[in-house]
Each structure stands twice: as structure tokens, then as C-alpha cells.
């Protein structure tokens, strides 16, 4: 771990005023690992754990506003989340471990970075970690990596679970900038695709911006599913995950985790829900460019969608 300065702030305003050139740290469940391995070497850390932003409030339109620092455990256990957004509770509980969820925050979870093995070994080329060094994954081991939304520069997958549920819920990320200016980013646009230019932007955040909250529209109703497929029963990243909200009339929303640099969804796929898993998968994976190692993810995702649809059908009857 390289030497860094550490400041603790007690409000979002104070964080923003001190955020220039700094990394904000909340739960630290991802960032501190990266610092120990020197995957990132921030010179300044601003600890926002005492900056408030830790409440879950009902909004005027009947939705929820989740403070950036609400812990994953608290969010998954919130009665309003369990009642109105069970896909979110299930997705959160499918991730990490109890200890990590106690520590991890809503905003931090959105900011978690890829689990590409080449990103994690600083001796190997990785454009995301060291822009311009190359992407070792291209001809290497890509079993866990993305099959769509990638580029020649990067095959990273977004490893998150919570964000996949937020995608089908149409969550909106609230951010504030150093000047105090606030704006909102739809969850669909929050995670960036690698594209063809370096450095690779991962998040739709400008320098110094801070996530202050995530808002949810009113509960969508329907039956909620989060199905995560992984190599062991717990404490593993998704090979493929499916978040879905399916209504009684067979319409709904669907998003995939583990297959792309962002939670993966499309209007065409949602429109195909009544046509079954194959049609949904065809829509979702149009233009996919899998590697030899991870081509199975498309078949696996199709089968997992079928499992969810079967469960939804069972729930209706």
C-alpha cells in the first residue's frame, strides 16, 4: 500500500469541497483491496462514512430514495424494499457475505470494479488498470468475462448483483459535483462500455462528483426474481444472473448480470418476454462477441432466463 493522506468528513458538502484529486471511501470493501495490491494508488482518501446520506426515505411519488451510504444489509432488510422491490433485496443477498454486506454501501456497490484476473495482477497488461498496456484477456482466460458490450480494449464484466436489480427497477443515481451542482443519471447509463478510446471510463461520473443517493420509482408490482448462477452456492461472482419483474399479463422487465461491462438489458428484450427465453436472449445478445472460454454464457443465460420464466409461470398458476 502506498502512502496516502486520509481525511474524514461529516457532510456531503465537506466531501465535495475536499474531493479534488481524492478517492472517496465508504465501506472500502473493494477500494482497500485495490490499494493493497496497488491496482489503484490514490494519494488522498476522503472518508465519507460519517457524512450522513444513510437514510431510506419514501418519495412524494411513492418511490424510495436510498442514501448513498445505506449499507447493503440495511437496504436488503428494509420492509419497504422487501414489500415493493423484492428483486433488489434478493440481488443484494445473493452477493458477497454477511460481513461484507454489513460494510458495503449503496454507492460503493455501484462503483465496484471488474473481477477480471488480469486487472488483478499488476504484472500483466490491462487497459483498465494501466491504459495503453493492452488487454491480456483478449487471447487469455475469459471464462468469467463479458460476452457483449466489450471492445478490443477490454473484456471486463461488471461483477455486481445489486445494480442488475436496479436496472429492471429503473433506478436513478443522484450525484453532486464540486461546485454543488447536482444531476441525475439513469442506472442504464451509469456504467460505461469500454469503447475504443483510452483511458477507459467506467462510470458516468465527472472528476470530483459524489453519488448522494439512488432513487427508485414507485413499486412496479409483479413477481420478482433474481437468479444467480455461480460455481459455488455462495460467496462467488455470477457467471450469469437474471433479474426480472414479471407481471400477471406476461409482460415485464429483465436484465442480466455477469455478461457485460454493465447490467445488460434492452427494450427489445423486454418486449420479447412473452415470446420466451430464446427470443429474449436473441434480443439481449444481438451483436455479442464471445470468446472461446465464455461463449457458454449465452447458452447459460438463455437457460437461466427459461428457469426464471418457468418459475414466473408457476407463480401465476
Amino acid at each position: 500500500m502506498k502512502t496516502f493522506t486520509y481525511d474524514r468528513v461529516t457532510s456531503a458538502e465537506e466531501a465535495l469541497a475536499n474531493g479534488a484529486g481524492a478517492s472517496f471511501v465508504a465501506g472500502g470493501t473493494n477500494l482497500l483491496d485495490h490499494m493493497k495490491l496497488q491496482i489503484v494508488t490514490p494519494e488522498r482518501l476522503v472518508d465519507i462514512n460519517r457524512a450522513g446520506m444513510d437514510a431510506i426515505e419514501t418519495t412524494a411519488d411513492g418511490g424510495l430514495r436510498i442514501g448513498a451510504l445505506v449499507r447493503n444489509s440495511d437496504l436488503a432488510a428494509d420492509a419497504r424494499v422487501i414489500a415493493g422491490y423484492p428483486v433488489l433485496a434478493r440481488a443484494i443477498l445473493a452477493g458477497a457475505s454477511g460481513q461484507i454486506r454489513n460494510r458495503a454501501t449503496t454507492a460503493g456497490n455501484l462503483m465496484q470494479r471488474t473481477r477480471c484476473p488480469y486487472f488483478y495482477d499488476t504484472a500483466l497488461a490491462c487497459n483498465k488498470r494501466a491504459p495503453g498496456s493492452g488487454c491480456s484477456a483478449q487471447d487469455g482466460h475469459s471464462r468469467t468475462l463479458a460476452v457483449i458490450g466489450t471492445s478490443d480494449l477490454c473484456l471486463c464484466q461488471n461483477p455486481g448483483d445489486m445494480a442488475v436489480a436496479l436496472r429492471v427497477l429503473d433506478a436513478v443515481v443522484e450525484v453532486a459535483g464540486p461546485s454543488g451542482k447536482t444531476r441525475t443519471i439513469p442506472i442504464a447509463q451509469f456504467h460505461q462500455l469500454p469503447g475504443d478510446t483510452l483511458p477507459i471510463a467506467e462510470f458516468a461520473l465527472d472528476p470530483g462528483e459524489l453519488i448522494t443517493a439512488v432513487t427508485l420509482p414507485p413499486p412496479p408490482g409483479g413477481a420478482h426474481f433474481y437468479r444467480k448462477v455461480r460455481d459455488r452456492s455462495s460467496y462467488a461472482f455470477a457467471l450469469v444472473s437474471v433479474a426480472a419483474v414479471i407481471h400477471g399479463d406476461g409482460t415485464g422487465r429483465i436484465a442480466l448480470g455477469g455478461v457485460a461491462p454493465r447490467p445488460w438489458a434492452s427494450e427489445a428484450a423486454d418486449a420479447a418476454i412473452s415470446k420466451g427465453a430464446r427470443a429474449i436472449a436473441d434480443a439481449l445478445f444481438e451483436g455479442a462477441r464471445p470468446q472461446e472460454d465464455n461463449a457458454f454464457k449465452i447458452d447459460l443465460a438463455t437457460r437461466t432466463i427459461a428457469a426464471v420464466l418457468a418459475e414466473a409461470k408457476e407463480a401465476r398458476t
Binding site: L239, A277, R303
Partner: protein, 732 residues
Amino acid sequence: MKFDAPIGDTPIDNGRVVGRPHSRVEGPLKVTGRATYAAEWHEDLPAMLYGAIVPATIAKGTVKAVDPQAARQSPGVVEVLTFEDIDIHGTSSGRTVKMVGGPEVQHYHQALGIVIAETFEQARAAAALVHFEYEVGAGSFSLDGGRADAKVCGAYGGPGETRLGDFEAAFEAGEVRFDAEYRTGAHSPAMIEPFASIAQWQGDDLMLWTSNQMIAGTRGSMASMLRLDEERVRIFSPYVGGGFGAKLWANADAILAAIAAKKVGRPVKVVMPRGLIFNNTINRPETIQRLRIAARADGTIEAFGHEGWSGNVKGGNPESTVMASRSVYAGPNRLMADHMAHLDLPEGNAVRAPGDAVGSIAVEIAMDEMAEKLGLDPIEFRVINDSQVDPSKPEKTFTNRHLVRCLRDGAERFGWGDRMAPGTRRDGKWLIGMGVATAYRAALRHASGAAVRLETNGRITVETDMTDIGTGSYTILAQTAGEMLGVSVDRVDVRLGDSRFPVSAGSGGQWGASSSTSGLYVACVNLRRSIAERLSMDAERVEFEGGEVRSGNRVCSLLDAVAGGPVEAEGKFDFAQSDTKAFGTFGAHFVEVGVDAYTGEVRVRRMLAVCSAGRILNPVSARSQVIGAMTWGVGAALSEKLEVDERYGCFLNHDLALYEVPVHADIPHQDVVFLDDLDPHGNPMKAHGVGELGLCGVGGAIANAVYNATGTRLRKVPMMVEDIIPHLPEPV
């Protein structure tokens, strides 16, 4: 005591203490953080410095230039030592590669130096600043690529190829023949406690706190590498958080801590970060195995062939998979051969149940496949081919082989009769299947010594350099002394892992429990004699029970014997190799799995192991050993595999997020049954070990269960979802 004839009745047979389910005597220390592990000796060591290993970031090649300047100038750095400053004689005993490489690099993450700093963080930061300029060499990293040039090679001094009868002719003539190839993945021992050492020099004497399985060998090895007399080195390793073979010797942390501490004149602590463990230390190499079996139509095996291929560094040992078939199933015509390819991957070595752990997977799948070909129940096929003599050395008879009982007893308990035809049993979305496998592991023995003392307060002190690597050594040694001297376990103080104590067998190869308690048994026999003499009793007719010593009508307290001071005795278990007896442990594994019909995820539903390993010294610590081993088997079958990047020559998944060992949720239900028989032939405890037996065959039983669930036969482990879904019915 040279042990070469079966033993009769002994005080151990009373079974008042030994064989009882005592929980770990050191358990309270461990759960309250008072059991001090190697990296935790803070208070005793003022002015301690921290060392960070500097690893090579190429797999093969030469260091052309070293630039330590930036590291030297980094905050808190006291010293930077690279291979140019380090002189090590030879390497660690039992290892092949050098503990510090350079200028030649032998494998990825080989240590090339160490940075010593005031804090751990400073050392780690500076280690990243040591710059090496490499000339990268061409290495071989692929077993498939190296296979053609692989040579027949024995492991650890054993034979490379063994033959009996005429295998080729008998196989050709076989009525029913089977020939298939299997693959198993490379494994990391992945113990919880990382490699850790603290070195302190007291004049010319080295004190080394380290995490180690074999104290005496490590002491000799440290002395040799440092060109010291053994007497100058003291090793202390009282608690070990798992070793699984990787701590059988001194590793880079130990030798670098010693060299660094000498250089800076202060104690130095070196803990190997998790990310280095996978490539810096040892692994169980990937294997390819060919099984050829020919049998008569009634199921009698006529020819059994098992050939294995694995890769290792030059001068290393092959992963001897054929061990898993040499001594198990009958068959008068046999061919068993290990082949080794020279690869430049990190060193393969003795990871838990070396050879057998993965050899048994291939053998047990093959037996399942052959049984089906013969139209026989897999258990019946195994029973038909049981052998009371070692099939490869028929002049040797097993002293305690109850494989058939294990299989039959297990079948009854597990409900084997409910097993259905492949691919026909379903529970909702789950395809359900059952599998069985034989467990076999040799019952190795090693000479082992101990000292035992009756203190003036009536307590018993046991001292031996034996280690407790989480296995329960403290407890079974306390039980042994308690039984022999007629006191309860709470009156016995066991002190382990100190090189000042008598040399023991150490922990490895599942020999530790039986060998170390046998050494203590001998010491106790000697102590009983001394106590009897002090009490003027006839040593041959004396009984120890309830803190009393009795002979005829005379009863004394143990305290009467120590009126003049403590009584102490040493003893050593030793034995002559037998030309006529074979020692083995046997068992049967039963597994039920569910395979998700949509996603191909395999989840174990329940497991049963029935084990025969002589006297079970402590049924709870033995059970812990077996369920831990069974869990290893689940990992080998379903998730554990070191991924080789053949471009860089490294194991890529070098952390516990990407190298996936089973978690609690993967292990819903495990049963262990011990036959608890007695084998008076091997050692005075009439006991053998179980810590590796519990692993052997498990992966095969799981693969066989997956076949029974799905109707799909997989000949590789780990079995991943992508291997399974192409064979599942289309769900859409």
C-alpha cells in the same frame, strides 16, 4: 521400541480416555485468540521489522539488471536485499526450486529478494519499487504440449512403472474392455493461515517462529541453507492454521526472515500475502490419466492399466496418480506408470493425499463406467474385485482391509437401493443422482519420539516436536498420556512444535496421529516403569487409574511417586519395514447430488463416508478430519482449478475470489461412520490416520453421482456448468 510384531493387550485397550470424543484441548485458546500463531509474536519481540518478499513477475528467464534504489529511498525502508546480496546453500529439503531465485528465474512469483521496513505497509509499498530488468526465456507451460516428451518417472523415490503378469496380452484378450482418458485440474493447498515466519538472532543462534508441519526436517534444512550447525537453530511452531503439505519444509518466508534479521540485527517478520501463495509455493499439478480395464463377463478383472501424466519443474516429482490403483482392485495382469513432463510452472509437490487424491477420481469413475459396461451394480463390481493381498505385491497381505464392509455398510445407511437409472430421478428442477467410490490411502508410519513427565503436582507434561496443524494432535496426545497414566485429559499439558523437544514424525501423509501417539505410548511405558520403580512396584503388574497406581492390593497416589521430584521418561516408536504385510486405510464414499436441469449447477445434497482405519483415537477430531477432507473432494470435483495462462506461465487465479474452494452452503450434510476396528500390526496404538483417506475417492463419487443424475459421463474435473449444459435437455 522397534515395533515389528503384532501387539497384544495394552492399557490403551481400556478405552477410558483414548477413543472417547474429547473436544480440542486447545480449543478455548483458539476461539479466544490466545493461541499464538507464527505471525503473532508481537509482545516478545521489541523493535521488530517487517519484510516483504519481492517476487519475479516472469516465469522463466534471467534477471539482467537489478535496481533497488527507489525501494531503498521509500519511507521506512531499512534494507533491501536482492538475490545478489543473498547467499543460500542449496534449497529447502523436500523442495526442488530455489527459495530465492535469480539471476535465473525458475517460476512465476519466485522470490528474488526482500524489502525490510519499519511497518508492514512500508515494506509492501517499497517491494513494488524494486525493479528487475528481465530477459524472458521460452518456457513450457502446457501439459498437453509437454506430454509427448514426458518420461516414466517415480515419485518420492518410488517406482515409475510397475508391472505384473502380461498386461497388454491380457487386456487384448479381455471379454469386456474399457479404455478412457481422464483429466484433473491443478490445486492449491489454500490453507487459511498464510506462510509466516519471524526470525530473531541471539548471537549466532537463530530463533524462528514459523508455521510448519515438520519441525526437525525444517530445522535441519534451515541450518543447511544458512550453513549453520543444527544446534544453532531453534524452531517454534506450536499452532498451525493448516498446511496440507505446503508447510512440510521451510519456505521462502522462513529463509528470507532469517537472512533479513541477520542483516539488520533486529527481528524480522515475513508473512506471505495471499496473492503470492498460489505461485510462490507448491501446488498439486494437473493430471491426465488413462485407465484400461479388462474383465471377464462375471466382473472379474483380468487386466488393470493406469497411466498418469503430469508436469513439474526439472528434478521434481510427478503427481503419482497410479498410486490410487496399485493397491486397490484385484487383477493378475497390471501396468501402472507415472510420466512426468518438464514444465516451467510453479513447483508441484505433496498436497494433501498426493497422487491418491486425484488418481482415485479417475480410477473410481472408470470403475463406475466398467461396472455399467458389465451390467453390474458399481458396489458389486468393487466387491468382486476386492483383494486381501496387495494386488501389485501379492506377497504382502493387508493387515486390516475392510473395504467390503465399508461398501456394504455404507450402501445400507445411505439408501443405495433407492438409486435409479441414470437421468430418471427428478425433484422439481433438480436432477438427482447417487454415486459411490472406494477410498484407499496407504497407512504410512514414521519413527516418532516424545518425552513425558510426571510433575510434583501430579500433572503430566508431554513434550514432542509434533505439530498440530488443526488436526487435533494436542488432544489425542493428551488422551494417550491420560490413558497410559490413569488421569483425565485435563491433567495433561501437551507442548508441541518446539525443536528442543524429541523428534516426532511430524504432520503429513496421514501418519501423524498414529505415529506420534505411538511414540508417546513408548515414552509412557517407560514412565510407568520408572514410577513403578519409585513406588517399589512390579512394573509388569501395575495399573494406572484415577490418579492412582495399583499393584495387587497396594494402592498409591501418583503424587507418592514424585515426593523426590518429577519423574521423566522418553520413548521412541520405530519399526522394521515388513516384506509380508501391507498397511492401508479403506473406506467408501457415498454422495447424492442435484443438478439444476436449467443451469447445470451441481450441488451436493448429502455425503456419507464409512471409514476403516484401525482404532479411532478420538471420534470427534477424526470426524473433523474426514469431513474436511470430503469438503476438499467437493472442491476438486466442482470448482477448484488453478488456471494456467500459457503465455505468462502463471497460475492466473491467485486469490481466493477466483480460486474457489467450497463454502458452507456447498456442504449441507455430511455423515461419517468409523468401523473402529483394531490393527495390532502397524503400531502399538492399533490405529491409522484418516486425514487423507477422507479425501480419496470423493471426487469420483461426485462424478458418478452426476452421471447417475444426468446420464452424462464427464471425464474431467472440476465439472463446470459449461461442461454439463450441452448435455442437458433443452428447456426452452
